[in-house]
């Protein structure tokens, strides 16, 4: 297995940025958050800049509270909408493992993988909120161990369903009148503590076989995750966090506020600070000029496989990232960018797994 030749860059594009008051500095009025053209515009800038993926945060409950942003369109619908506009950027919707139906989640994510020709991932999250339980009409799951168990069961089921159609299950055999080879379709017969799922899926196997699963470190057993997202407050903690993860890839979450033409990063943070603080989620945070961020990312390239950026204000910071941060990193060979035709797995250097239910595959010469 090969690792990508450089640091993989992703960016969170939900809402207007990572500061709750980011909407006050956004380049569009509040209603613009529901304008599909704005969403496509953001993703296109990220793609041209050389980002490999965007994440789309989500949950069934509002993303914030009055007087800040309380609306958003579901991540799966946004990711699907973006599919037609993109050619190298992968979409990674956040979909919670708590209360959701694993069968539906599996179908939705597999569909996005078909729509994007394999440029998709799943950011598996958990929902620790009584409000979400009320929206689902279910008893609240608040205990951390219980949330982890729910998450593990959900990912196990979703992954099994992705394997439940072998790659060549659609045979279209005119001679025998058979469209499907039913021997290549499999019941998953999952039985967990809370529920069971029969299978097989209703969607053919996704192009990547297994969609790339991202998760915050600690939510899920490592074997169910492809990319761990590490939350560490400073660089010194990063090597230990990376070493503790046995997932194939480790990425770090970094919050960034950059100098823009007329204001320094610190001034921008202070300006929004009038309306409320930028909540500390324990992530690395960089506030400063683009050159400093270039240095930081170059340093991080030796410690992790990738970085997901959380800009203070998308409409301001993404522009600086695309003009002044990523070009020097790409030129120096620190950052690698995906090429058309690559799946996200291919770009991350992850092999395409054969279905767990299938016979061992015969290696094809051309692959």
């Amino acid at each position: 297995m090969t690792t990508p030749t450089g640091l993989v860059l992703g960016i969170e594009i939900d809402g207007d940025g990572s500061h709750p008051a980011a909407w006050r500095r956004a380049a569009h009025p509040p209603a613009g958050l529901f304008d599909a053209r704005r969403l496509v515009g953001l993703a296109e800038i990220a793609e041209r800049a050389g980002f490999a993926f965007v994440t789309l945060d989500d949950d069934i409950v509002p993303p914030g509270s009055h007087p800040d942003v309380t609306g958003r369109i579901g991540s799966v619908e946004r990711a699907a909408y973006l599919s037609a506009a993109l050619s190298t950027l992968s979409v990674v919707p956040a979909v919670s493992t708590t209360y959701t139906e694993p069968f539906h989640v599996s179908s939705q994510l597999a569909s996005i993988d078909h729509l994007t020709a394999g440029r998709s991932g799943w950011l598996a999250t958990a929902t620790d909120s009584a409000e979400a339980a009320r929206a689902w009409g279910r008893p609240a799951v608040t205990d951390a161990a219980e949330l982890r168990r729910e998450a593990a069961d959900a990912v196990e089921v979703v992954r099994a369903l992705w394997d439940s159609w072998e790659d060549d299950a659609v045979i279209r055999d005119v001679a025998s009148s058979r469209y499907l080879d039913r021997d290549r379709l499999h019941y998953i017969d999952f039985v967990g503590e809370g529920y069971s799922v029969k299978g097989p899926a209703i969607v053919p196997r996704p192009p990547q076989g297994q969609i790339v699963v991202f998760a915050g470190q600690g939510l899920l057993p490592d074997h169910l995750v492809d990319v761990s997202l590490l939350t560490v407050p400073d660089l010194s903690g990063l090597p230990a966090a990376a070493a503790a993860s046995r997932t194939e890839r480790t990425f770090a979450d970094v919050e960034v506020a950059l100098d823009v033409r007329e204001l320094t990063a610190a001034e921008r943070v202070a300006d929004l600070g009038v309306h409320g603080s930028w909540p500390d989620q324990g992530r690395l945070r960089y506030v400063g000029g683009p050159a400093g961020l270039v240095e930081l990312l170059a340093e991080m390239a030796d410690l992790v496989d990738g970085v997901r950026l959380h800009p203070l204000v998308l409409d301001e910071d993404l522009d600086v990232l695309s003009r002044l941060v990523i070009p020097p990193l790409t030129a120096a060979g620190v950052v690698s960018r995906p090429l058309p035709g690559m799946t996200l797995r291919t770009f991350l250097g992850l092999p395409r797994p054969v279905s767990r239910y299938g016979a061992p595959s015969i290696p094809a010469g051309a692959c």
Partner: protein
């Protein structure tokens, strides 16, 4: 048949509405021809949707099945299967189409209302008011085996659950006030204070409290479709639906009787008779001449009902394995078994199997039809319209202007080019006769269908009480 003098028909200016139903299961989609495309590639969906949009269709329609169909405990392997999640696929189509409505069949038994309402509202916003929802119910434990709750719902409760889910969805869709945003730059808050009201639903089958994350769309709410044909299903449609997707569109008298029945039910719940569009599902096969059309229809039917498919379909009616019979021989001599009630073959349950068998035997003996021939002529989804563009246009004009239908939801017999003749030949013939619009009249699905503004959750409740 020619169009009657305008003065003689009940609806002299009525025009047809078309939807296209991109099938995901069923034997009606031919997969064996070299022209048949992928059932999963985004390009297939895009081509069909864009062709339909070129033909000024109101809606692009996707079905849903939450478990692969089985016959005799084994996955049915003869028909197309394997399709994308409907709302996800439609959200992608919203980006590559401009006008056509995007209708998702979504189950109310194995979806939870807050999640489903939010997904549909998201589609409605991304498409700028073009979303529709075909409300379907399932009660069987067999489908439930794929879901957390299992087979929890009694048959008798399925429409009660549907009603409660729909009421909850409407409350969620109305959660944001009109004009929720503060006007002008420098707003002190993202939304006006008090612009969002939580939807609180305390019913026996839906007990939730939801703060919506989405404003109302350009059409207010997604348009509600309904497809059930039982008396309960028709009443549900009369109370709640904007469009009914019926199985009564081949024979004029049958279509008219159905339409009259629906209008009677509408009156009973206090809705105007023109508040609901009736779009039967159908296949349309077109030829330059009547003979050519019939030859093409014959080819289509034979491709759809292969010898093995004929045996499988007869097996469903008899509820017994007939795969060792001769498809070109006679119908089975034995009486059918008790019908399979598991739901393992979708909505097909054949509770009237003995009646079907009697009818098939009579026709088979009278015409000398083999088993396969009988299934081709009389089997499930055997109906449809065959003819020249001019002949079909006149016939459909008769249907629509006499109030038997408002249009059709057309299932192409092949993907992605099964609509080409309809758009290229039939639509112009209808336009020449004034039976079809020359351009889209609006931008939302509700406008295409000529519907009144979206109804609130409260309205539905009042009507239910009145009914």
């Amino acid at each position: 048949m020619t169009l009657a003098d305008p003065a003689d028909v009940p609806r002299p200016r009525a025009q047809l509405h078309f939807g296209v139903f991109f099938q995901g299961v069923n034997h009606t989609t031919i997969w064996s021809s070299p022209d048949s495309g992928s059932q999963i590639s985004p390009l297939s969906f895009r081509q069909v949707a864009q062709t339909a949009e070129r033909g000024l269709f109101d809606a692009f329609f996707l079905g849903e099945g939450l478990r692969l169909r089985e016959v005799g405990g084994r996955i049915h392997d003869l028909d197309i299967a394997g399709r994308p999640d409907a709302i996800t696929q439609l959200a992608a189509l919203a980006a590559v189409t401009e006008r056509i409505g995007l209708v998702s069949t979504s189950n109310v038994t194995f979806n939870e209302p807050a999640d489903l309402a939010r997904r549909l509202a998201g589609l409605d916003l991304l498409s700028r008011g073009r979303a529709g929802w075909n409300v379907v119910t399932t009660d069987n434990a067999w489908t439930g085996e794929n879901f957390r709750r299992g087979g929890y719902l009694d048959h008798a409760d399925r429409y009660r659950r549907a009603e409660q889910v729909l009421r909850a969805a409407r409350a969620i869709w109305d959660g944001w006030a009109d004009e929720p945003f503060e006007a002008g730059p420098g707003a002190s808050s993202w939304l006006r204070p008090g612009a969002v009201t939580a939807a609180v639903v305390r019913d026996d089958l839906v007990d939730i409290e939801v703060t919506s994350t989405l404003p109302r769309s350009a059409q207010g709410h997604p348009v509600i479709f309904q497809a059930g044909d039982s008396s309960d299903g028709r009443d549900f449609a009369a109370r709640n639906a904007d469009v009914i997707f019926s199985a009564h569109g081949t024979d004029f008298d049958d279509a008219l009787a159905f339409a009259r029945d629906i209008r009677r039910r509408l009156r009973a719940v206090g809705r105007p008779e023109d508040d609901l569009r009736i779009l039967p599902g159908t296949q349309i096969i077109i030829g330059a001449t009547e003979v050519e059309a019939q030859e093409k229809a014959e080819w289509v039917r034979r491709e759809q009902v292969t010898p093995r498919t004929a045996l499988a379909m007869a097996g469903l009616v008899w509820n017994r394995d007939l795969s060792d019979r001769d498809p070109d021989g006679p119908l089975p001599a034995e009486e059918p078994n008790e019908p399979d009630q598991s739901g393992a073959f979708g909505s097909a349950r054949f509770t009237d199997a003995r009646e079907i068998v009697a009818r098939w035997r009579e026709a088979s003996q009278a015409n000398g039809w083999s088993l396969r021939e009988t299934v081709i002529r009389l089997g499930r989804r055997a109906g449809g319209h065959v003819g020249t563009p001019a002949g079909l246009a006149d016939k459909f004009g008769h249907f629509v202007r006499h109030g038997a239908i408002d249009g059709f939801n057309v299932s192409p017999y092949i993907v992605p080019h099964g609509l080409d003749d309809i758009v290229g030949l039939l639509v112009p013939a209808l336009q020449e006769r004034g039976l079809y619009p020359a351009e889209y009249q609006g931008t939302t699905l509700r406008e295409h269908l000529g519907l009144r503004p979206a109804r609130s959750a409260g309205q539905s409740e009042k009507q239910q009480e009145a009914g």
